[in-house]
């Protein structure tokens, strides 16, 4: 079994109003020094695959076809072998 830890982030060219709102809330909190916030998604998927290469293939496929929308998002992930 492999566990994919997938991060989906807005492309740098896409404005992130939610990130901006969080940034303003951080300022309201009185915490200084936070000069940028971008918000994304984190998804865990357990993948039953014979090899890491197969698990990678599956993860790539679900990221490209479903989890991320390439018009606005990028994805990265790491694969961990486990129970």
């Amino acid at each position: 079994m492999y566990h994919a830890r997938i991060r989906i982030t807005l492309r740098p060219s896409i404005l992130d109003p939610q990130g901006k709102a969080i940034e303003h809330a951080v300022a309201s909190l009185g915490v200084g020094g936070v000069v940028g916030v971008r918000m994304g998604k984190y998804i865990e998927a357990s993948i039953d695959a014979a090899s890491e290469a197969d698990a990678r293939k599956t993860t790539d496929e679900i990221c490209k076809k479903l989890l991320a929308n390439p018009v606005m998002e990028d994805f990265t992930y790491e694969l961990v072998r486990g129970e």
Binding site: P17, A21, L66, N69
Partner: protein
């Protein structure tokens, strides 16, 4: 003159909430036939026009429209659209169309981060489509929006193509038809409120024409869009050439 009735198929996803409005608008107001198509259906019951209605399909999980796109009925809708069938996606339906790849771009969170629910003015940018034949070029329509994710975005190349091919059908504007920043309810690129595909048979728009059809509710500009679709459909395969590239 209109003995033949057009059959509207309104798709119902779990979480759709404008499906009955669309059905009512097509059947009770416009006097056509309308059927509800369940998301698990694998045929369109012979519909002449498919409406993907507004709502929150699958709870907007993952991204708006991202899950609905994989519904069994969507395979049929994609087939129907590829063979030239008339498809209109309204609000969440527009989001489903971009996720399904039937229209380019994406609908992002409103720039204000607020859900916007009010009447807006729309300028008809292209009155030579099957969806806008009954409108005048640059006519200003009053139609409501109700969405949290209607901020249209596409890359520069896509925007150039949409502009060049006359595929921007509606733009948010002020009362006099000027597409100003103040009249843009959600931050959409170039004030885009609705676009069509290259062959002119698939329209996606954030505003709700089906909510502006009943005179008892004050606004009827949405009828012009439905009437355009109906007259195009009744006329059948007439020699309509859309202003979009290629036409039919």
């Amino acid at each position: 003159m209109m003995e033949r009735k057009l059959k509207f198929g309104v798709v119902v996803f779990p979480g759709s909430n404008c499906d009955h409005d669309a059905h009512y608008a097509a059947q009770e107001i416009m006097g056509q036939q309308a059927v509800l198509l369940w998301h698990k259906d694998t045929d369109l019951q012979g519909a002449d026009v498919v409406i993907l209605p507004g709502g929150f399909s699958y709870g907007d999980y993952l991204r708006c429209g991202a899950i609905a796109r994989f519904s069994p009925v969507m395979r049929e809708v994609v087939k129907f659209a590829s063979s030239g069938g008339t498809v209109i996606g309204i609000c969440n339906g527009f989001q489903v169309l971009v996720e399904a790849g039937l229209l380019p771009g994406v609908l992002l969170r409103n720039a204000s981060l607020r859900f916007v629910c009010r009447y807006v003015h729309l300028r008809v940018e292209n009155a030579a489509t099957r969806f806008t034949e009954k409108c005048l070029p640059h006519e200003v329509l009053s139609i409501p929006v109700a969405h949290g994710d209607g901020n249209y975005f596409a890359d520069a190349e896509t925007l150039r193509r949409l502009e060049g091919e006359g595929r921007i059908v509606f733009r948010y504007c002020d009362e006099s038809g000027n597409p100003t920043e103040a009249s843009n309810p959600n931050g959409s690129l170039a004030n885009i409120a609705g676009i069509i595909n290259g062959s002119g048979n698939v329209l996606g728009m954030m505003p709700h024409p089906e909510r502006a059809v009943d005179p008892r509710l004050g606004h009827t500009d949405g009828r012009k869009i439905l009437q355009s679709i109906i007259e195009y459909g009744i006329a059948g395969e007439h020699s309509f050439i859309s202003a979009a590239s290629g036409g039919r």
